[in-house]
Every structure is written in structure tokens, then in C-alpha cells.
């Protein structure tokens, strides 16, 4: 790192602005082979034959591997983020390559290693697979039409009071359905790995969020000692959940390296990247409310099609979607139950928002529906139902514990901040976002396994060049937490951030951690850095060192200090460990609606965000801007559709409509700070908030615009023009 690198809000900014930053595809060891994947063309079928002979004949091919041979070398894949039973899930034995049966279009059936990318693709195309088709289930409606219990892989509930009784007695009841489409994360850099087996040790460079989890998985599946594996994460071109552990290509690229004795690279194609998805849900909702807009009871029956069973954490978002009800509100009688259904499309991967966006959408639509029926202003309905500061900390029915915040204040601030531009429709939304790790909530009792906080760790040490080095177990897929971590260490040590060198993502150098997940990088990882830096500062004081430089290292050596930190919400013997902090936010969207075509244009989007103590305002705003853009995309255009045979219909950015610069307005962002009581720094997270809030605010704005033109209510996303126009009566030419 050079002396000028701290001139800019982002560390090492010129490496990126000048194009020298290295990403995984820039790594090319000598003797490199390239992997290509043979993928199922059927949504559900018995594998009758996988003939690899034609592929082996392609010039440049070194190795072809199908399921039977792979199974001789690989153990079943371990579930990520804990046992499935913890969240009421069914356990499946899942192999990297199937032997008997394929379960979705795009499922890997064989892999090829070849001297060039082109030879590998040509060979993959030459593998002959014979299928015998089996019955296919593609979505929630098809499941509801003919519920097959064998498809249900989990059932979750969050219940309080007696919603059934209240609903049957209530004067005002809303019954409706809500549907959220399947969508993806689509970072501009797809997944990628370079595996290099040198005969004794496996080094894996990976575009990844969780190097330690990847290392553990590979050790188990490849049956290697953990210390025989080194995972190194170079710069990562965005992740948003996609780059967590569990996709089957991870052990496969490593196995090919071991079998070939050469380094092997796999870079996902864009079409492969668009196979996975998440967020799709179907809700059947009943709400009882009073004439003055108070919610009395909510019943929701949810079907969540999570794609084929998989070990990656994506399917767990279905649990969070249930547990996060009723979001920011007081609902005395709650009865939310889900069926999580295995379907014949590619498995869910983690998606920014991690299941928290769907309940926000549902609750915010409900608030507007109550407003419409009671004649109250949407903001007023929210005021009457929001959790108040005096309600906090608040234990939700699921066991999630809202630690802090001031939701009414955040709402009022955003209403004041919104500039009130002329528009066809205005929508608001309030969001709480459970963060910091701890999705498997619930009441403890006989037979219920407790859960505990995962720690983060950091080492702070002196370098020969006089710099201070921070080694952390949290990783940075692009959001820039290295900047915040360096700043925190510098502050403790009384030096400039430019004198701090941050090492992340290397399992040989860094202390273990959770990488990049659940908005923990600064709030938890940063706390560990502060503790370790503080210890170093104390040591330096005791040694009488005023100025840290190369001389300090020469005299005293590394002086390494290692500290671990975990958030400490008050222990409660009745509950599992909950997400330790909740950020909150409120949003106002303004849209124009083209009555004749159903096209919606976002005019403005204003947010006020409370993520506790703000460590680096510029970074926090950046995180929120990106999340809001994704929420707008989900509201209006992003959708991972499949055809009637389960084949993806959105395999490129021409079909999957991610927002571009001229689809979006400037966003206006304000801050409100209620420090998190149970984190060292008072910081909460900033990674996931904004997706659900923006999604819901835009949907509500569209609904408002529709209602002024005689349209029907919004119940689904994305609100693309055909969906919007279908809600409007047809005008005669």
C-alpha cells in the first residue's frame, strides 16, 4: 500500500481506478487447466447413462469426471450454517455430482479439465447424457394445486396469541394473497476458483465471502486435514450472498486439481450465474384490524419454493422470512406458518436481504391496505402500529429480539426529508433488519438445541516496515470494510489509517471468522480489531513507545495481539441466541405511472437509516445505495423466470433486468443513530437493510398511483408493465 492510498474514502482506491487490482480470474499459475461443467438439460430425470468418451477424445482434454467416479473421491457435502434440523429442516444426503437423478436444469452432471477454456467447453458439450424424465414441480402454485408432502423440506411457524379467534370475531378483515418473484443477486463478477494441489497442500483462490467455511467444507468433502488447505480471497467483484460456501463446483474444481496434479481454474459463465436464485414466496394472508387502523391479528400461510435441496445456506432464508414477522409492528395475535418446498429449479443461494425482505413487503402492503380501508393516511396507520421506543427491547414471537431503535422517529424524519416532488404515486415503508448472525431463533425447551453467538477475531501486529498490520476473519467482497477496520485500529493506536495494513481472506494468515455474512463486518469484526489494537496500544505504552515505526519492530518484534469478540445480548434461558442487533429504516418512494402502458418510473427514493453508531458515513451510505437499487430492481424489473420445462429464461442481463444508471434517480439518505446496546462500538449492520424497504416503498407507490386511476391493489412483484397494466381496466381506443 502506498502513502497516497488513504487520500480517498476507499483504501487502495487507485488500484481499482487504475485497473491494477487483481480478481480471481487474473490468477494464472503455470500449467493451469480450465474446468467446464456438463449440466442437466432436464428439470427432473433419472440418469440412465453419462457417456464421457466423446469428451475425452477432444484435443486438450486432461480429465473428465462424472458422478460415479467423483463419488469414489468425495464425501457427501456438509450443510452450511448449522444442521438443517436446527430450523426444522429435513436432511438430505447430497453429493457433488449426482449418480442416480438430476433435479433441475443446470445441475452439474460431469466436469471436464482441459488445457484451455475453449477445449473444456467443447468437451463438456461432447458428453452424452441419457435421461428418463420424472415428474416436475416448478413453483408454489403448482404445489398448492396438488400438495406433495414429500416435497416439503421444512415447516416453520411463528405464533402468538390466538389469531384464529380474533379473525373470526373481527369486524374488519382483509384477505389477500401476495407473491414475490424469484430473483438473483447477479454481481458483475461471477463466481470463480483456482485450485492448486502441490502434492501435499491445496491452495484455493476463490471469489468468496467465507474462506474459513470453504476451507472446512473442502477438508470434509475431500477428506483432507484442515491445515492441508489454504483458501485465499483476492479482490471480489461483488457478492451479495452469492459467494457463500456450498455450490458443488467448489469441491469439484479442487478434486480435478488433485487428480490432474495441476492447478485448475473455474470461472462461472454469466448463464451459470443466473441459474440460482431466491426470494420467491407465495403468501395467503388474513388481517384483522380496527376501524381506527390498529392491527389485531395476522394469519399468513406461506409456500416458499427454494429450488432443489442443497447444502448452501440459501434455503435457510425461508426460515428467516417467517421468523422476521411482523417486522416493525406490534401485532398481538400472530399465526404465520410456512411450508418450504423443494422444487425442480436450481437451489436458492443467499440473496442480499436474506429472507428479511419478504416480510417487510407483506407487512408494508398490509399497512397500506388498512389505510385504504380505514381512510387513514398510510403514515398514520404505521404510527398507530409501530413498535415504540418504550417497547424495546422487544422479543418477537419467533424469539428474535429487537434490541434498540426509534421507529416512529425514523419514520417522521424520512417524511420530513422527502422533498415531495410531484408524482403519480407515493409509497412509504418501514423496515427492521435483524443482523449480526443468529438466524436460528426460537424458544428453548425439551429437545431444542441451544445456539450461541459466533465470534469474530482479529490480530494486530507490527511489521518490519513500521506499518501496523490488521488480520481479520471478516472479508470484504467490495463494500470496503477494510477502510473502516483500518480507521478503527488507527484510532486506538493514535496513528493514521495509511499506516495500517489490512489482511483479509487468507486462511493461513488471518484468524478464523465468518467472512462476509449477516452485516457483521464492522459491528462484530471491527470490535475485535478495536480490542486487539487496544491491547497493542497498552503494550506499546508499557514499553514507552510513542511513535510506531520500523525501529519499534526492530526493538520489540511483532508484538502480535489476538482478540476475539462476540456481541453480548443479555442471556435469556428461555430463548436461543438471537440476532444481536436490528437496524431500522424508513423509505419514501415517488413514482410516475404511464397509464397507457403500465410503465413505472421511479422519480425519487428517500431513506432514513438507523444502523447504530456510524463508523464511516460514506461507506454506510454506499452500502445503502446499493441495497436500495437492488430493492428497486426487485420491485420493478428483476426476475429469474423459468419456462414450462424448468429451463431458465433469464440467462443474461438482456433478460434479467438489473437497473442501469438511467433507470434510477439520485437517492436521498438521512441518518438516525440509536447505538446498539450490545455491541462494543454501538454499531449495527449496513449490508442488508434497504432491499426490503425500497422494494416495499416502490410497490406501495405503484399501488398508490394505481388506486388514483381506478386500478386494483398491488399484490405481487416484480411490477413490470404487463403486471401493472393487468391491474388497470382497459380503456377503449
Amino acid at each position: 500500500m502506498s502513502a497516497t492510498s488513504a487520500r480517498w474514502p476507499k483504501r487502495d482506491a487507485f488500484a481499482f481506478a487504475g485497473g491494477s487490482a487483481l480478481f480471481v480470474d487474473d490468477i494464472r499459475p503455470d500449467g493451469l487447466l480450465h474446468m467446464a461443467v456438463v449440466r442437466s438439460t432436464r428439470a427432473h430425470a433419472r440418469l440412465r447413462r453419462v457417456d464421457t468418451a466423446p469428451a475425452k477424445a477432444v484435443p486438450g482434454v486432461v480429465r473428465v469426471l462424472e458422478g460415479r467416479e467423483a463419488s469414489l473421491h468425495l464425501r457427501p457435502l456438509p450443510y452450511q450454517f448449522g444442521d438443517p434440523e436446527l430450523i426444522g429442516g429435513r436432511r438430505a444426503v447430497l453429493e457433488a455430482l449426482p449418480v442416480e437423478e438430476v433435479r433441475y436444469v443446470g445441475e452439474p452432471v460431469a466436469v471436464v479439465a482441459a488445457e484451455s477454456r475453449r477445449a473444456a467447453s467443447a468437451a463438456a458439450a461432447a458428453v452424452v447424457v441419457e435421461y428418463e424424465d420424472l415428474p416436475v414441480l416448478l413453483d408454489a402454485r403448482a404445489f398448492l394445486a396438488d400438495p406433495d408432502p414429500s416435497r416439503v423440506i421444512a415447516e416453520n411457524e411463528t405464533v402468538a396469541g390466538d389469531a384464529g379467534r380474533v379473525l373470526s370475531a373481527a369486524e374488519h378483515v382483509i384477505r389477500t394473497e401476495f407473491a414475490l418473484g424469484r430473483s438473483s443477486t447477479a454481481p458483475i463478477e461471477p463466481r470463480g476458483y483456482v485450485a492448486d494441489w502441490d502434492g501435499a497442500r491445496l491452495t484455493v483462490h476463490a471469489a468468496h465471502q467465507q474462506p474459513f467455511q470453504l476451507r472446512a467444507e473442502l477438508a470434509e468433502v475431500l477428506d483432507l486435514p484442515v491445515d492441508a488447505i489454504r483458501v485465499v480471497v483476492p479482490n471480489v467483484g461483488g457478492a451479495f450472498g452469492l459467494k457463500m460456501t456450498g455450490p458443488v463446483e467448489e469441491p469439484l474444481v479442487c478434486l480435478l486439481s488433485i487428480l490432474c496434479g495441476r492447478p485448475v481454474k473455474w470461472i462461472e459463465t454469466r448463464a451459470e450465474c443466473f441459474l440460482g436464485g431466491g426470494r420467491e414466496q407465495l403468501h395467503e394472508v388474513e388481517v384483522a384490524h380496527t376501524a381506527d387502523g390498529r392491527i389485531l391479528a395476522l394469519r399468513d400461510r406461506i409456500v416458499i419454493p427454494v429450488g432443489a435441496e442443497a447444502v448452501q445456506p440459501g434455503w435457510r432464508q425461508a426460515f428467516v422470512s417467517v421468523a422476521a414477522f411482523p417486522t416493525a409492528y406490534r401485532v398481538p395475535h400472530l399465526d404465520v406458518r410456512s411450508r418450504v418446498v423443494a422444487t425442480n429449479v436450481a437451489p436458492w443461494h443467499s440473496c442480499r436481504g436474506f429472507g428479511k425482505e419478504a416480510p417487510v413487503f407483506v407487512m408494508e402492503r398490509i399497512m397500506d391496505m388498512v389505510a385504504r380501508r380505514t381512510g387513514l393516511a398510510p403514515a398514520e396507520v404505521r404510527r398507530r402500529n409501530l413498535l415504540r421506543p418504550e417497547d424495546l427491547p422487544h422479543r418477537m414471537a419467533s424469539g428474535y429480539r429487537v434490541d434498540s431503535g426509534d421507529l416512529p422517529a425514523v419514520l417522521e424524519q424520512v417524511l420530513a426529508l422527502d422533498e415531495g416532488a410531484e408524482a403519480d404515486g407515493v409509497g412509504i415503508a418501514v423496515e427492521v433488519t435483524p443482523e449480526g448472525g443468529g438466524h436460528a431463533a426460537g424458544r428453548l425447551g425439551p429437545g431444542v438445541t441451544p445456539t450461541v453467538a459466533a465470534p469474530e477475531a482479529a490480530a494486530v501486529l507490527l511489521r518490519p516496515d513500521g506499518q501496523v498490520e490488521v488480520r481479520t476473519g471478516v472479508t470484504n467482497p467490495g463494500g470496503g470494510n477494510d477502510t473502516a477496520l483500518a480507521g478503527l485500529a488507527a484510532e486506538e493506536l493514535g496513528i493514521t489509517a495509511a499506516q495500517v495494513h489490512v489482511v483479509q481472506g487468507d486462511t493461513d494468515l488471518c484468524p478464523p471468522g465468518t467472512g462476509n455474512a449477516s452485516s457483521r463486518g464492522v459491528a462484530v469484526g471491527g470490535a475485535a480489531v478495536v480490542l486487539a489494537a487496544r491491547d497493542l496500544a497498552t503494550t506499546l505504552d508499557s514499553l514507552g513507545v510513542d511513535t510506531i515505526d520500523a525501529e519499534t519492530f526492530r526493538r520489540y518484534g511483532r508484538l502480535e495481539h489476538l482478540r476475539e469478540y462476540r456481541p453480548e445480548p443479555p442471556a435469556d434461558p428461555d430463548y436461543r441466541y438471537s440476532y444481536p442487533y436490528f437496524s431500522s429504516g424508513a423509505y419514501v418512494a415517488r413514482v410516475d405511472l404511464d397509464r397507457a402502458t403500465g410503465r413505472v418510473r421511479l422519480r425519487s427514493l428517500t431513506a432514513v437509516h438507523d444502523c447504530g453508531r456510524v463508523i464511516e458515513p460514506v461507506l454506510v451510505e454506499g452500502q445503502l445505495q446499493g441495497a436500495m437499487a437492488m430493492g428497486v430492481g426487485l420491485a420493478l424489473s428483476e426476475e429469474s423466470r423459468v419456462d414450462e420445462h424448468g429451463a431458465p429464461r433469464a440467462s443474461s442481463f438482456k433478460e434479467y433486468l438489473a437497473p442501469r444508471a438511467n433507470d434510477l434517480p439520485d437517492f436521498v439518505i438521512g441518518h438516525y443513530e440509536t447505538p446498539a446496546p450490545h455491541t462494543l462500538l454501538g454499531a449495527k449492520g449496513a449490508g442488508e437493510a434497504g432491499v426490503g424497504g425500497a422494494l416495499a416503498a416502490v410497490a406501495n407507490a405503484v399501488d398508490d398511483a394505481l388506486s388514483r386511476r381506478g386500478g386494483r391493489e398491488v399484490t405481487s412483484t416484480p411490477l413490470d408493465p404487463p403486471a401493472v397494466l393487468a391491474l388497470l381496466p382497459e380503456e377503449q381506443p
Binding site: S121, R649, F653, R660, P721, E730
Partner: protein, 266 residues
């Protein structure tokens, strides 16, 4: 596989004639990715990038070479003056500065995608497609050239060297309806005196006569609605973005906006 970077049209035509299964590369925006993905497996490649086809020639008709990019249409004074409809079309091409530098009008015609910008506009402007082969040049009215969805009227050994478009400086309008910046057009309408041509509603552009006395919105909408009501089911276009029913519903309005734009220019 041989790859020819032809220096002249004759060289390109000769390479084309010699190949069993050639791929002609113009702007490259559609066929190069397809080639990389292995969706097209040609025996040979004939690249027109250096064949001198990137010129715009003014005359009674404006002649656009096959490699003329959208950016050239945007910056050409001739196009701005004589074919303002094309200037407007080029300013709305999806894909940013880069695709405007790379995409070509002729490439879009050869792709003959019903949902793209160019077909309806080219029909409205009565473009004539210049097709070359070893046998010589044939001139095909664009309506005939666009034989069907993704089906240009091109025999083996033939390539398009350019289009000729009669000057159309006056009253015209072009409106496209798409869903987001990334989206391809869903319905397009090109209005010139006497007619409006619709893209995205059928496999090929649909010409709807608009008499000079009936250019008000209601008349245009009604003429388009009648035309679409009479369209055979086999011609109705549908794709990922929108079903036919949606296109039927919005097309009259898109047409009316194109005509209104033309009237404003008048």
C-alpha cells in the same frame, strides 16, 4: 476454421462463396457472443470490419454501408438532416456509448428480430437492402427482406452491403416502448406521412395506413386497434417480456405517440 478479415466486398463475397457454413460478422454485438458460447458453430468466419463498408453517402437516397454504427448515425449531419427518424432511433439504442459505437443498423436488419428497433423504422422509411453475392447485387425492399421473425431474405453466399433510404426530412416520429434500460423494445412505432409502422406486435413490421385527415390520437388508436384485431393468430408476437395481449393493448397508444411526435415536428 478459416477467418477472413476482408479488405474489400469482393474479397468478402469470395470467402463467403468458398465456405460451407460461413458466419458473417458485422458489428459483432449479437454474433460474437453467440460464437463464444458455441451457439453458432460456423465452418468459417467472414469479418466485414475492414471491408470499407462504414460510409454514409448522401444522394436522392441516403446510402448507409453495412458497418455504419449507430454512433455514426448520431453524428452524421446528413442523417440528422435527411433521416431524422434514424437519428432519433440511434439516440435511444440500448447498451450505452459502447454499443452505439459497435452496433449497426444493417446488423439489426439481418438479425430480423421482431422486437428490435430497426425493422419497423426501416419499413416506414422504405429502405432498400443491397444484397451482394458472387452473382451480383440484388436490391430488396426491406419489407420483403424481413421475411419472418429472425429470417432475413438471404440465400447462401449472400451478404448485405448496405441500405438505401429515400430522404425523409420532414414529418416523422419514432417511439419505442421498453420496460427498463436493459430491456429490448417491446413495441415500436415509426410514423411517416400516410402511415405508421409497428414493430414488436407481429413476426414482421405491421404497416397501418394513417390518412392525412386522421392523425388525431383517437383515429390512430382506432386504426391500429382494428389492424391488430384482424391480425392472424399465427402472426401475433410474444416473448419473455410480454405476451401478445399486452402488446395488443399498448400498441395503439405507442402508435398515437409516434404520430403525435411527427405532427409536432410538422
Amino acid at each position: 476454421m478459416s477467418t477472413t478479415f476482408a479488405r474489400t466486398v469482393d474479397e468478402a463475397v469470395a470467402a463467403l462463396a468458398a465456405s460451407e457454413k460461413p458466419l458473417v460478422v458485422g458489428g459483432g454485438t449479437l454474433c460474437v457472443p453467440a460464437l463464444v458460447r458455441g451457439e453458432i458453430v460456423p465452418a468459417d468466419i467472414v469479418d466485414l470490419g475492414r471491408a470499407g463498408l462504414d460510409t454514409i453517402v448522401d444522394g436522392p437516397s441516403v446510402e448507409l454501408g453495412a458497418l455504419v454504427s449507430y454512433q455514426q448515425l448520431l453524428t452524421s449531419p446528413v442523417v440528422r438532416r435527411e433521416l431524422p427518424l434514424l437519428h432519433r432511433l440511434a439516440s435511444g439504442i440500448t447498451g450505452g456509448i459502447q454499443i452505439r459505437h459497435q452496433g449497426t443498423l444493417v446488423g439489426a436488419l439481418c438479425a430480423a428480430r421482431p422486437q428490435s428497433d430497426v425493422p419497423a423504422a426501416a419499413v416506414a422509411l422504405r429502405a432498400e437492402v443491397m444484397v451482394r453475392s458472387a452473382a451480383g447485387t440484388r436490391r430488396v425492399p426491406v419489407e420483403r427482406f424481413l421475411a419472418g421473425p429472425m429470417t432475413p431474405d438471404l440465400a447462401s453466399g449472400e451478404l448485405v452491403v448496405g441500405v438505401r433510404i429515400p430522404r425523409s426530412p420532414g414529418t416523422n416520429g419514432y417511439v419505442k416502448h421498453k420496460f427498463a434500460e436493459s430491456s429490448w423494445p417491446v413495441v415500436t412505432a415509426a410514423a411517416v406521412p400516410g402511415r405508421v409502422v409497428l414493430g414488436g406486435v407481429a413476426g414482421t413490421p405491421q404497416v397501418v395506413p394513417i390518412p392525412g385527415a386522421a392523425t388525431d390520437g383517437a383515429s390512430v388508436r382506432s386504426a391500429v386497434a382494428d389492424h391488430l384485431a384482424a391480425l392472424g393468430a399465427e402472426h401475433r408476437w410474444t416473448d419473455l417480456r410480454a405476451p401478445w395481449e399486452y402488446r395488443r393493448r399498448v400498441a395503439p397508444e405507442i402508435a398515437a405517440r409516434a404520430v403525435e411526435q411527427a405532427e409536432e415536428i410538422r
